[in-house]
């Protein structure tokens, strides 16, 4: 059993085999093998407690069928089920997705990272730059010149519809 501590000091106890899905954690455990019990505590300071909860839920779901995933020989039905589950899992607000991406990146969990990025790109799909800016609450910070001249002139066609 290992213990994860989030930035707001909450503790999460996870089976080592489950947490091993994070390559970062696996390396840390490997490094500290044979040492004292206290070394089985891992600080995940860059994420708040809501995210480890989600990450652990994700791990547990994937832990139930590790071999099938590794060998990509999952039966069609199981794959469908997992797909449905993942769709539901990632069906969350864009801020949580941001946190999940950062967590998946720092903990090195490729499948979680891919899933979250996929969902973000789904959200961004068929939206204009302005809409994306609004959803993600980004200030564009472009200078007047960039906004008026440089950006539109580079790929002007994207913003146009000539003969309509």
């Amino acid at each position: 059993m290992i213990t994860l501590i989030s930035s707001d000091k909450r503790k999460f106890h996870v089976l080592e085999e489950v947490a091993n899905q994070s390559l970062t954690i696996r390396d840390v455990i490997e490094d500290r093998r044979g040492r004292r019990r206290a070394d089985r505590i891992i600080l995940v300071t860059n994420i708040n407690s809501k995210i480890p909860e989600k990450v652990i839920v994700y791990w547990l779901r994937h832990f139930l069928m590790p071999e099938e995933i590794a060998h990509a020989s999952m039966s069609h039905k199981k794959a469908e089920k997992l797909k449905k589950w993942e769709a539901k899992f990632f069906d969350t607000d864009i801020d949580t997705l941001n946190d999940l991406i950062l967590a998946a990146d720092s903990l090195d969990i490729p499948s979680l990272f891919d899933g979250a990025c996929e969902k973000v790109s789904d959200i961004l799909k068929n939206r204009s730059a302005e809409e994306v800016g609004e959803i993600s609450k980004i200030e564009n910070e472009f200078t007047h010149e960039e906004e008026e001249e440089e950006i539109p002139s580079e790929n002007a066609w994207v913003w146009r519809n000539e003969f309509a």
Binding site: S7, N46, I47, N48, I94, D95, N98, D99, I101, L102, D105, F113, C117, E118, V120, S121, L124, K125, N126, R127, S128, A129, V132, G133, S136, K137, I138, E139, N140, E141, F142, E146, I151, E154, N155, W157, V158, R160, N161, E162, F163, A164
Partner: protein, 358 residues
Amino acid sequence: MHGRRDWANLPPDLITLISEKISTNTMYVHLRAVCKGWRSSLTPHPRHLPRQSPWLLLPRLNVHDFRLRFYNPSLCKSYQFNLPYLSGKYIYNSYGWFVLNHGYRVSLFNPITRNSFDLPSLDAMSKSERAVPDVQHYCLQKVLLSCNPSEPDCFVVAWFLSWSDWELGFCRIGDTHWTGLKKRDGCTNLLDFTFHRNSVYTVNCKREVSVYDLQSLTVWTYPSKIIYNPNYQRINLVEGDGESGGPLVVSTYECHGKINITNVYKWCDSQQQWCLVMDIGKRALFLDRFNCTNLQLEGTQGNAIYYDASCPLDLNVFRVSINRVFLKNGSVLQHNLGPSVVFPTICGWFSWFTPSLI
């Protein structure tokens, strides 16, 4: 980050990884315009994008017309590019690049990125086989690329109208001359050619198939014939899908200026003959008068052939429309482009163009 959610401050490598999930260049351009941080993190020339859903290139009014006008059926939008550089040049397009020919000079030009590459001039070729000085012996008929020329190992194959014993020549980016592909018996003319797995497949007017390997410069010829009537039908060779079997042939005929599809055949390497196909899976063929492109596209109905079926509404107005032929049963459906797609009357041929950001 301590709970501070900030999309603008995502590390550049993360925003790059997210952008790699994006599959259309329109989306990608929008993503780059979201904020300063994203703009500097994302390259203007992404290499991960698949071949894009094609635009219909409208005919030019004349050879000096430097406007390129496109219609994008997937977004129902039209674009106009003013490119005085193109004036007076013959153009043909492949992989989103125009092949420009002006006199002896040949070059590749991407209208989206405005990048260009020079190709060997036709001059050098004429000099090496000089017969009558100052007469242009070669002119371009059709040019195909094996991949995007910004990728390594791109071959350019050109079909010349010439008076020598070869009609096909190829070069790579940076070459100083064209290398000729000799005709087998020196007299049979070409009907069409295409690329397939870095080999050039040709069909000549005896309906024989020849396969040129561009690495070893070897050629195999097979006597197998396509069933079609050369009196009123024409054939279009199409690249294969890279997985199963060889290239395809679409046989068509024209009636009152409109294209009609008759059959699609696939070259079977094992049997060394053309086999009729009714199913090309999720892939779609985009046919025009000069070429036919084989693409697998997200959200486009596959197993079909798309071609231009535009018609004049009156003397001044032209409505763009596209026909879709289902391979399974041969039924034809007019692709709905919405009510407002009208252009000033034009004459000439439409062709497909797959826009590329690299």
